[in-house]
Symmetry: C2
Subunit: 481 residues, 2 copies
């Protein structure tokens, strides 16, 4: 049964899957605009770097926009490592998707299936089922389904579709990772990590704990030497050597940061000389780097490393890249990359059918997608640039203007914080020969100022420096709740 | 076995209960001071309005201070209702006890038993046991033991003891309250409530939900018409009629706030005319007040009211006063109030033995205590004034100066926010005849400015108005994570 509202209303493309109860309030929602009322329905799947940027910049007067995402917010991922140690507050790193309501309809839901022929999406609410209307504690890991298969599924139709569902955390099927490690992809992860760090210190501070146990509790392990792992190690080092040293005197000497990677060096995407600089800085800071090491299994409070045997830890942060999203994995009738399972698009970002011809109404961006024969890194930068390109295209399309030229990636370089007010900045390979490598304080300044040119709202553009300033003056807050 | 450290070191009064493992790091902690090294050991139980104020103002150069509290922070309770709806961020309403470390030793632990004769405290760590070193989600209710009976107990000795353990939430043994209602005594409660409010709206926004279910989900019930319940209702009303109306259009018309109380009127401690004003304001705002109503039982998503039958709700906040703390309840060899089980003190705040003679080294303040024959209200104001008095006394005592005159309470009146930039202020009974009752905007201004004369740190004195300003300009953040 297709819902019988007037086509001009935002929620009118709702198709009820099973229950058949009419969403009366959606129907009665008033909508006024001086623009043509037969707006096309643009559905955006995902509220990450790709989806949120489309949501932000799309012409909401000309498009009838619906956002489907299991989170009602966007994660500003580069700030999550700071949030995980309290350099910034959690809400500095998020933007609500409802910032653009009421123009935009948003459902907190998973998309489980795309029917490209009928242009229908099958969705599952990502809120808890009604039968459990009790206290709901925040969940620690957003990368898995919070409430699998419990809600009432519903169906939506679309005219145009943007697939920006992102990817999951890669675990390489190492047993115990999902159960006993923390990822760092979502603000919920950052909160769980911050709580756990403070808990480890409070535990280690108990008078009944032995020094051997203290050493175990205060071993902070990071698996994965990419920018996320490196920045978290750096931020954690800053925390340990400032507030923790001051407020848990005598305990920080038991604390240790250990970073593991299977590769022979960390920060694979950075220039050799910058990696050397980062490794040297880490070594001087007392952060142990174990490259060419293999984690075989994780148990509560300990991991098993092939080269070291049993390693007890108080906190384990796992950041070893991306795994395919289940929606993408299960999608049929689309061309997919054999190795990464990413959806293949043409250079206009249109999703390709299995026979290689493009869907003219479906685009895919971000970590879930890749352009045919162009292996770009799966980074926020690429997702964001693709989203900007796509938004421009859609905003021209709706005015019947020509589509822009094919997408081109402009590498703006990579930045990573390495602790102690230092960063590294790599612009080699961008074609720009001025300042193509930078280390130390200047790179740190670039790193910090980079956050003001991007997606953050004015509110967060005020809050972020406020917290930087307050925490610089008064120290990070060590309250655990 | 009494720990054999030198008496000049802060943690040297540690007595190991069972394990016998020496807390080596505590022993090796260096301590330097030009003051006499034989400082007496002052132990403070509790980090609330009483205990935290003593911690804040005590002469830490002359006292060897140890804080025992299950939380490593102080709750600035008057701001919790604001935090529960996002007018302020959670950390605006907390202050870490470690603000005063390393001078102060703090253990995150429960005190289970006081041996007044031997001057010993038996404590239980309030951190999770080591065998569960996995991800730890924040708990929703801090008023019950988080990890009952799982850690290794330890014993401390004291020279002077301040009992400021506070009280628990009263449930009147109504079945289901502890399981299905939210209290509002701790920042963890505020966080759980905020998450739940946003969850209710996201749930109600799902297209598969019927209007009948929407109405149930968006019924926000408050049991208890005291200042906490009233202020929460007021803040929630503000939220519903600003951000929620804007960002969930069509949903707020299903939303409803209902307040229940067994008494014939709300805000019992306020002057009659102010109560009338508050009730009138609430009525005009559409907040239903059900006085002389009795809640008999709570089940998931519904409560049973004697006068109304079954009442479905999306969120239930329970705030019906105080219940005795288990430590106080189980304490022997002290004089206790028959009705409230509070510890009885003399007017110098010394705890009384069962025979009525005072313990010269033990004081009790806050909601856990009451002065013999002086029935003061169990409020933050009384706790704070008693703490100030006691700190002055202790700071004189340590310099062998005379003890101050008996404690006298100076009623500074009661303030309550009632929504929509309005408050009520009652100073009748304070002996001051100027401005002894105030309503509306002026009272609101008084209400806001009252927060700047009190216990908050400079950090929070900056953060609180920053958030007031940002949320006034940009609206409250509706991110649910």
């Amino acid at each position: 049964m297709v819902f019988a509202g007037r086509p001009s209303r935002p929620a009118s493309h709702l198709v009820l899957a099973s229950g058949g109860r009419a969403p009366a309030y959606a129907n009665s929602r008033a909508f006024s605009s001086s623009l043509p009322r037969n707006k096309e329905r643009l559905v955006i799947l995902g509220s990450g770097w790709g989806g949120y940027e489309v949501l932000r910049a799309i012409d909401k007067e000309r498009w009838n926009v619906t956002m489907i995402s299991p989170n009602n917010y966007f994660n500003f991922t580069p700030l999550l490592a700071s949030c995980a140690v309290g350099t910034l507050e959690f809400r500095c790193a998020t933007e609500p998707v409802r910032r653009y309501s009421p123009e935009v309809v948003a459902y907190q839901a998973w998309c489980d299936h795309i029917d490209f022929r009928q242009k229908r999406l099958q969705c599952m609410p990502a809120t808890p089922p009604l039968s459990f209307e009790t206290k709901s504690a925040p969940k620690a890991d957003a990368t898995t389904t919070q409430f699998p298969g419990t809600g009432t599924p519903f169906t939506l139709t679309y005219d145009k579709l943007v697939i920006a569902v992102g990817a999951y955390s890669q675990t390489f099927d190492v047993p115990g990772v999902k159960e006993h490690a923390h990822f760092l992809k979502d603000v919920k992860d950052a909160r769980a990590i911050r709580t756990r760090i403070l808990e480890c210190f409070e535990q280690a501070n108990q008078p009944t704990i032995s020094d051997v146990e203290r050493r175990k509790l205060l071993n902070f392990c990071i698996v994965g030497g990419g920018p996320t792992g490196v920045e978290f190690a750096a931020e954690l080092h800053d925390l340990l050597h400032t507030e923790m040293e001051r407020h848990y005197p005598g305990l920080t000497r038991f604390a240790k940061i250990s970073m593991y990677d299977v590769a022979p060096q960390i920060l694979g995407m950075f220039d050799e000389s910058l990696v050397k600089y980062a490794e040297k800085t880490f070594k001087r800071d007392g952060i142990s780097i174990f490259t060419s090491h293999h984690v075989e299994r994780v148990e509560p409070g300990k991991l098993f490393v092939k080269e070291q045997g049993e390693v007890p830890f108080g906190l384990l942060v796992w950041s070893t890249g991306l795994a395919p999203n289940p929606l993408v994995q299960s999608a049929s009738d689309v061309k997919k990359d054999l190795k990464t399972s990413s959806i293949i698009t043409n250079d206009h970002l249109n999703v390709l059918k299995e026979d290689g011809t493009p869907y003219s109404d479906v685009w895919a961006i971000g970590d879930a997608a890749m352009i045919e024969d162009a292996r770009l890194p799966a980074t926020a930068q690429v997702a964001n640039q693709k989203a900007k390109y796509l938004t421009k295209k859609l905003n021209r399309l709706v005015k019947d203007k020509d589509s822009p030229k094919p997408f081109e990636f402009h590498n703006q370089g990579s930045l990573a914080y390495i602790g102690n007010w230092k960063a590294i900045y790599d612009r080699s390979g961008t074609g720009n020969n001025v300042m193509n490598k930078e280390t130390g304080r200047l790179a740190w300044l670039l790193w910090r100022s980079a956050y003001f040119t991007m997606t953050l709202s004015v509110r967060n553009k005020i809050l972020v420096p406020t917290y930087w300033f307050l925490n610089w003056i008064f120290g990070r807050d060590l309250t655990r709740f």
